[in-house]
Structure formats: C-alpha cells, structure tokens
C-alpha cells in the first residue's frame, strides 16, 4: 500500500514538473527582431519545485488528508436535517425573497455605476438560468445550445430597431416569442432524442445559430455586429443627454433635474430587476401547475409517465419552449444594455456558464439558481486582481463546490399543494 502510494506520488510530482517547468520556467523575450529563450528567475523555479513537492506530499498522504476533510462538518449542516414544515418554509422563503427584492430596488441609488452595471448583468444571467432551469432542472433535458435562444432574442431586437426602428418595449415580447418559436421548431424533431444525443444536437444548434449570425453579413453585419441599439425609454422619455428620436422627451428635462449618465444605468437595472422577478414568478407558477409536475414525472420515469397518458413530446416541448422564451427575454435586455452585439457574445462558453449556474444552484431549485447566478457572475469580477489566474480560481471554486455539495447550493425541495378537505 505504502509503496504503491509512493510510486503514485512520485509519478504525480514528475508530471507536475513536466507540465509547469516549460510553461513557467522559460521566458520568451524579444531582442530586436530575434526572440530569445531565457530561463526564468530563480524564485519562479524554486516555486515550481516547491509545487512539485506539495503535490508529492499531498498524493503520499492523500488518504489521511481526505479523511480529515471528510470530518469537517458541511458548511450548511441543515442540508442533512429533516425539512421544516412546508408552509412555514414557504412563508419564510417568500419573506426573504420580498426583502431581497425591496432592497434591490433601492440599492442602486447608493452604489457606484460599475456595480449597478454588474448587477444588471447578474440579473440577465438570473433570467437565463431560471429559463434553463426549466429545461435542465425540471424536465431533465440536457440543452447545451441554450445560448442560441439568447442570441435570437438579442438579434431580434437589434435587427428590428435597425431596420424598422422598433422600440425596446415592442421588441421585448417579440424577441421572446421569436425565441420561443425557435425552441418549438427545434424541439419538435429533436425531443425524441434522449440524454447525450439530445445534448449533442442542441450543441450543434447553438453553433449553427452563431455561425449563421457570423456569416450572414448582409443582414447581421457578420463579425462586425450591430451597433447603435437604442436604450429603453420610460413612457417616451429618453435617458440620453439629447433626444434622439422625434416625439420623445428627455428624462432629465421632464423632471427638471441635472443630466446624469447614471440615470440610464439605474433605469436599465430596474427594468432587468422587474423582468427577472417576472421570470421567477411566472416559472414558479408553472412549477406549481400540473404541467410542472408533468415535467418532473417525465424526468423521473418516462415509461410510467406515458402509461398515465401523458404525451411525451408535448410535455417536453412546453418545457423547451418556455425555457427559450425567457432566454429571448434576457437577450433583448442584453442587447439594450450593451448597445452593441456581435456573434462573439453567444459562444458555447456562455451556454456552459449558464448550465454551470443551474447545476451549482441545485437543479430545479429557483432560489439556489438565483444565488448561483450571483456567485458565478460576481466571482470572476472579484477575482479580477488575479488577472490571468481568475479563470483558474473560478474553476477551482467549481470543483470544490461539486466535492462538498454535489446536490448544489440549495437543492430543490418538493413543493406541493394541499387539497382542501371537503367538509
């Protein structure tokens, strides 16, 4: 046993050296037109060897270390306890949520413009994650091309405003509906596939949309993207310094206050907040409706669900379409926030991040998904000082998370309605 451990540990240490020494141990420097290979500073090389030693020691005593880690209590011990009484829990949860929303309403007036901007992004991700949560968490359909519907929403708004001058408020439902239509059309042939096959097809679909946007230069501007997307207006009041469109008034003049660039950012934040709350409420409603239970039943046991007369395709399609609808929603807000969109924003990594949010939050759990969306969006920003290592930290956080809480931040609990007993 010990000998085997030693061999394994030595092997790991050598691998560490082989991987890290060439990367960190040499520097390429330009001298005139030549590139010269220099050895790195002694301190770096010492660090590399030190890392190898750490890996060696860890692998050697891995069992002991893991046993110690196991004995550390889980960060949220109540996860293993019996759940609270259902109605009490629901009451607490709704109080907490209301408090958070009220706080979120006033919060932007006291913080910097940068944080409000970031918070808007968080809200967009919350919408996306809540939508994907229906597809992946509730219906159990692994969708790796979710970003395609996000792109459909964003481009719908961008194109409508560019070619027809249609405003944000008109585009919002149109973008969402068009995304839902795409979901329906894609879902129809695809949803008879299961598991891995479905994942691959949706992955392909996501790429098709992106490549289409990239190459249809005459319509979408290709890689150059579309700029000049208008910001939302408030009852015909614009937030710019000068009014761009005839018939509109400007916000600061109407209310007789000094122009401030921050108004616009805060307004967009508030819109996102309202839409995110709307998304959460609508999906919550769906979850409590029979169709929500049908999603779960189909995920749990397809044969049993069919034996009860459920139409498999119809049930899956509703989940897919509703998910796509809210992605379109988020896309419209995103386009308006950025003012410029290009296919760059809708790469596979986006799909992966949204999926990661759903998995980290605990599949099917709304509160969990919201918390995870906040964490996943803010963490890379907080880790900005670590510059190139920030994705590394992000990855490490995810791995740790999956080791300690594989069921997600807040695993889904059963919600159920009690039928009133007849007197």
């Amino acid at each position: 046993m010990a000998a085997q451990n030693l061999k394994h540990a030595l092997f790991c240490a050598v691998i560490t050296l082989i991987i890290s020494y060439p990367i960190l141990g040499f520097n390429l420097e330009a001298e005139g037109i030549n590139i010269i290979l220099n050895g790195a500073e002694t301190s770096t090389i010492v660090m590399v060897f030190l890392a190898a030693v750490v890996v060696f020691l860890f692998q050697l005593f891995r069992e002991n270390i893991m046993a110690t880690l196991k004995s550390i209590p889980t960060p949220l011990p109540q996860a293993n306890k019996e759940p609270m009484a259902e109605n009490k829990r629901a009451r607490i949860e709704s109080w907490v949520l209301t408090a958070i929303v009220v706080l979120a309403l006033f919060w932007p007036f006291f913080v910097s413009r940068g944080s409000v901007d970031l918070a808007t992004l968080v809200l967009i991700y919350i919408m996306l994650a809540l939508g994907l949560n229906v597809v992946v968490g509730l219906a159990g359909l692994l969708d790796l091309g979710y970003v395609a519907f996000y792109a459909v929403g964003a481009y719908t708004f961008a194109l409508l405003s560019e070619y027809f001058g249609i405003s944000f408020w008109m585009s919002l439902p149109l973008g969402a509906l068009l995304a839902a239509l795409f979901g329906l059309v894609l879902g129809f042939p695809v949803l008879r596939l299961r598991g891995d096959y479905l994942a691959i097809v949706t992955l392909g679909f996501g790429e098709i949309i992106r490549i289409l946007l990239n190459n249809w230069t005459s319509l979408t501007g290709g890689p150059n993207g579309i700029g000049g997307i208008p910001e939302p207006t408030l009852f015909g009041m614009e937030f710019g310094r000068r009014v761009k469109e005839e018939g509109n008034t400007s916000f600061h003049e109407t209310f007789g206050i000094a122009y401030s660039g921050e108004d616009k950012v805060i307004f967009l934040y508030l819109i996102s907040l309202v839409l995110a709350v709307f998304t959460a409420l609508v999906i919550r409603r769906f979850m409590r409706m029979p169709v929500g239970r049908a999603w779960e039943a189909l995920r749990e046991d397809e044969i049993a669900a069919r034996s009860l007369g459920l139409n498999r395709t119809a049930v899956k399609l509703t989940a897919f379409t509703i998910g796509a609808f809210f992605a379109g929603f988020a896309g419209t807000v995103f386009a308006s926030k950025q003012g410029f969109i290009s296919p760059e924003s809708f790469v596979f990594l986006e799909s992966a991040i949204i999926l990661a949010i759903v998995v980290l939050g605990g599949m099917g759990s709304q509160l969990g998904v919201i918390l995870a969306a906040i964490a996943v969006t803010i963490l890379p920003e907080l880790a900005r000082e670590f510059s190139e290592y920030r994705m590394l930290i992000f990855g490490a956080a995810m791995v740790l998370m999956m080791v300690w809480r594989p069921q997600g931040l807040m695993p889904m609990r059963r919600i159920h309605i009690e039928l009133k007993k007849q007197e």
Partner: protein, 233 residues
C-alpha cells in the same frame, strides 16, 4: 372488453408475438402466465401501442386501438401498472397519485384520492413521504393506487408480485380481488402462476410468443402440463 385478434408484434425484424388472440370480458379477472421471455410484457406493451402490432387488431370497448398513439390509448378508460412499479421516486405519495389523475378535474382527483386511501390506508400515512423512500410493497400499492386515480374500468397489472415478500404478495392479491368487486376488469400478467390462476376466472398460458393453453383458472391449475412447467410439479 379487451380483444386481441391474431396479433403479431415485431421488435425491428424479430417477431416477438406470433399471432396471439386473447379476450378479456367485462368484470373478469384474466391471468396471463408464462416463463421469462415468453412475450408477456410485449403483449401488454402492444395493448398500450408501444410497440404497435404489425398485424392483427387490438380492440378496446368495441373500438379499434391498434394504430392509436399511446397517450390516447392510456386516456380511454384503461390503466396499467407497469412492471417493476415505476413510481416517481422523487415525488411524494400524494403527487404520484395526482399524476395518475392528470386529466381529471380537481374534484374527481379528490374523490379518487380518498378512495385510494381507503383501499390502502398505508398510503394515507405516508402521504407526504417521497415515493422512493418506501418499501417495495408500499411502492407497489402506490403504483396500483396511481393507476386507479384515472377511474379506469379496466386495469392491467404487469407482475405485481415481482420482488415482494410472500405476505405482501398475499395482500396485493387480496386487493386485486377487491377491485373486481368494484366492477373493474383486471388483466393480470404474472410469473407467480399459482396465485394468479387461483384468483383468475380464466387464464392463458403464453409460450415463446404463442398462446399454448386457454382455460378457466381452476382447470389450468389442475392441468398436469401447467403443473409441471409453472407450478414446480
């Protein structure tokens, strides 16, 4: 009530049922027995339209359902308790039952739910428990209860005794007998030939995709061939 006329069923190119004819009359308990791989489950699945019969006819309540989609068949007064129970393990007992009455109104659901709890008081005790945490017998009760939620006039049971303790099996069979008294037609598919034939009005013996024997339950029990092959001599 349920009639299969010369039904052939294929899995791809392989024929699993070679012209099976079975009739279940209203108010009867009919048992279908047979060894592993005889095609019992295939026969049931053919009734449900998954897979559909490649030739022959399946008639339910005088309506030809051979080519109907599964979802439609399952909503026309017939309910199946699938093999291996297949309860929704993450859902509570109550939610499982509600899934069974998915296409009924709330008032109907409430009524059938009370009825199921009357049949299985144990389920009432476990109302808010997740189905996956219950014992095999309780899950089987739940599966039967879930099938009853749609108020079917015919119920098909696929191996309800599978993997259960003898005492629980006895309980389950008592319930099946009780269902007949309520006017529900029962089509029972079993490997547990003794219990199934004892309870049945009539029985069929299925062997490698063909009906070998067809008689009343009592006669089949007394039949030396059946005794040799299925009752351990």
């Amino acid at each position: 009530m349920l009639v299969l006329e010369d039904v052939h069923t294929h899995y791809g190119k392989i024929e699993a049922l070679h012209g099976v004819s079975v009739e279940v009359k209203k108010g009867e308990i009919v048992s279908l027995i047979g060894a592993n791989g005889a095609g019992k489950t295939t026969l049931l699945m053919t009734v449900c339209g998954h897979p559909q019969a490649s030739s022959g006819r399946v008639i339910l309540n005088d309506r030809d359902i051979t080519r109907k989609p599964t979802a439609q068949i399952m909503r026309s007064g017939i309910a199946i308790v699938p093999e291996g129970r297949r309860v929704f393990s993450g859902l509570t007992v109550e939610e499982n039952l509600h899934m069974g009455g998915f296409f009924n109104t709330k008032a109907e659901i409430r009524k059938s739910q009370d009825h199921v709890y009357e049949l299985f008081p144990r389920l009432k005790e476990r109302e808010h428990q997740r189905a996956g945490t219950m014992s095999g017998g309780e899950q089987q009760m739940l599966a039967i209860g879930r099938a009853l939620m749609s108020r079917p006039n015919m119920i098909i049971l696929d191996e309800p005794s599978l993997g259960l303790a003898p005492l629980v099996i006895k309980q389950i069979f008592e319930i099946i007998g009780h269902l007949r008294e309520e006017g529900i037609t029962v089509f029972l598919v079993e490997q547990n030939a003794h219990q199934a034939l004892n309870l049945a009005d009539r029985g069929y013996v299925l062997e490698t995709g063909r009906i070998r024997l067809h008689d009343t339950g009592k006669n089949l029990l007394a039949n030396p061939d059946v005794q040799n092959a299925y009752l351990g001599g």
